[in-house]
């Protein structure tokens, strides 16, 4: 018993130091998507903001659907995701303050370079999806209610196809993040929809290549919203607003546009001045 008793102060000390560390810092929590974090953008631009303001930005990178749920529960101060209809609903529900555009890039359809379904060069994403469904070509879907997943389902709907009825056959729902889904696609030579930034940064491409791009419907807009203090009084509204002002302001926008992956611009800043 002496042994166990001697552990109590040790634990108390450990818990205390950990908490002290957490409480001292000036920080905000941002619920964001795997694409922004996995692309490496945050690693480059957040230190610039922190250096200027002394505010640490803690990013929890999950799918858009989950990020919105985190923000709804009040577990984040700022929401930074990419599915405009969901974002507007979040604001309309009174969960968040104003929504601002931040940046965009695009989605691309990737698949085996040999392209057995012959979708390469399709004018539209819809046409490509129709070919995939007709050929019953393996397609790896996020299946996780993320922004990319919502986008993909919207495209299937526009193509007049319900892929869910084929779930488990050629339509494979991984239920995981973009990178994990690309790993699956790479492993089974399946087709997939991905945001361009994650694709550029992704290292386990295997035989996959970009097959369809450039359709205006593949546009990918990112937006930022301050979580409402009315619903969650503990949120750090002032610090969160500072971050939003910075990222949609001149400096943040320049940092975003300057960020490159392997010589390619990953995101295009498009915040409206004075918004």
């Amino acid at each position: 018993m002496r042994f166990t008793k001697s552990l109590i102060p040790v634990i108390a000390a450990l818990l205390f130091t950990l908490n002290a560390h957490a409480a001292d810092d000036k920080f905000i929590t941002v619920a964001s998507t795997t694409s922004t974090a996995n692309s490496g953008l945050f690693d480059v631009i957040l230190p610039v903001f922190t250096k200027k303001t002394g505010i640490e930005v803690r990013v929890v990178a999950v799918g858009t659907g989950k990020a919105i749920r985190l923000a709804r529960s009040g577990d984040a101060d700022v929401l930074f995701v990419h599915h405009k209809p969901s974002e507007e609903k979040f604001v309309a529900d009174g969960m968040g303050m104003k929504r601002s555009d931040v940046m965009y890039n695009d989605f691309v359809m990737v698949g085996p370079a040999s392209d057995p379904a012959g979708i390469k060069g399709s004018e539209t994403a819809e046409a490509a999806l129709k070919k995939l469904a007709a050929a019953k070509a393996p397609f790896a879907s996020r299946g996780d209610d993320s922004g990319t997943n919502k986008k993909e389902l919207g495209l299937w709907k526009a193509a007049g196809i319900n892929p869910k009825t084929s779930s488990g056959t050629w339509y494979r729902e991984t239920g995981s993040g973009m990178g994990a889904t690309l790993n699956v696609a790479s492993g089974m030579n399946a087709y997939a929809l991905t945001d361009r930034a994650t694709w550029l940064k992704f290292k386990n491409k295997g035989d996959l290549a970009i097959l369809v791009e450039g359709d205006p419907k593949l546009f990918n807009q990112y937006g930022i919203i301050l979580v409402s203090a009315e619903k969650h009084p503990h949120t750090k509204t002032a610090l969160g607003q500072k971050f939003i002002d910075w990222i949609i302001g001149a400096e943040g926008q320049t940092e975003i546009s300057n960020y490159q992956i392997l010589g390619n611009q990953a995101f295009f800043a498009n915040a409206k001045p004075g918004s």
């Binding site: 634990i11 908490n19 560390h21 996995n38 790479s186």
Partner: protein
Amino acid sequence: MTDISAAFATAIQLLITLDANLIEIVGLSLQVSISAVALATVIGLPMGAALALFKFPGRGTLTVMLNALMGLPPVVVGLVVYLLLSRSGPLGVLGLLFTPTAMIIAQAILVTPIIAALTRQVVADLWVEYAEQMRSLGAGPLRAVPALLYDARFTLVTAVLAGFGRASAEVGAVMIVGGNIDHVTRVMTTAIALEVSKGDLALALGLGIVLIGLSLAINAATFTAKQRAEAAWT
């Protein structure tokens, strides 16, 4: 094959250069898992011993439940702790979500049943041996708890190590309650998961090799310490 050889090269490189990020992540992993195991030990040892020594109605059921809880799925524990600590949850006011403390709580919940169940078995076996002797000395179960725990201390080290193995290897719970925030709640297992999702399999496996090495070092150190202590005792 190239990924596997690249992984070993990456692991060696990370260790030789004492990569600052790696040190931070390893440090936090140890801090979280050791704290969780310490907490679980303080709760689990007496709990297991009491379950072995005291006779009360429902003891069998409780024992079965405790044994079953050794298989608690980390994701489920993470989810429950998340719901408790979320700002919308009952303990939300504490603001503990996405902190190392939340990770310690989740891992302690995972590890406590393991330590308690193994302790119960060890102490129950000892009690069979010593019960008569202790009773003749007028020592009831309450007095026997500390005595038997002390007597079994070398065996119980293995129980604690089993708990540590579980804590340091799990990813499901810490990912949910910690959020895998860089420099704040990123530990070895969540860093590995992140690198896998970036498709950097060599770096992920390299980190995995470092984690296994770390576990090996801790077990070797404990083994040596235990042997010395046993030698000094006998």
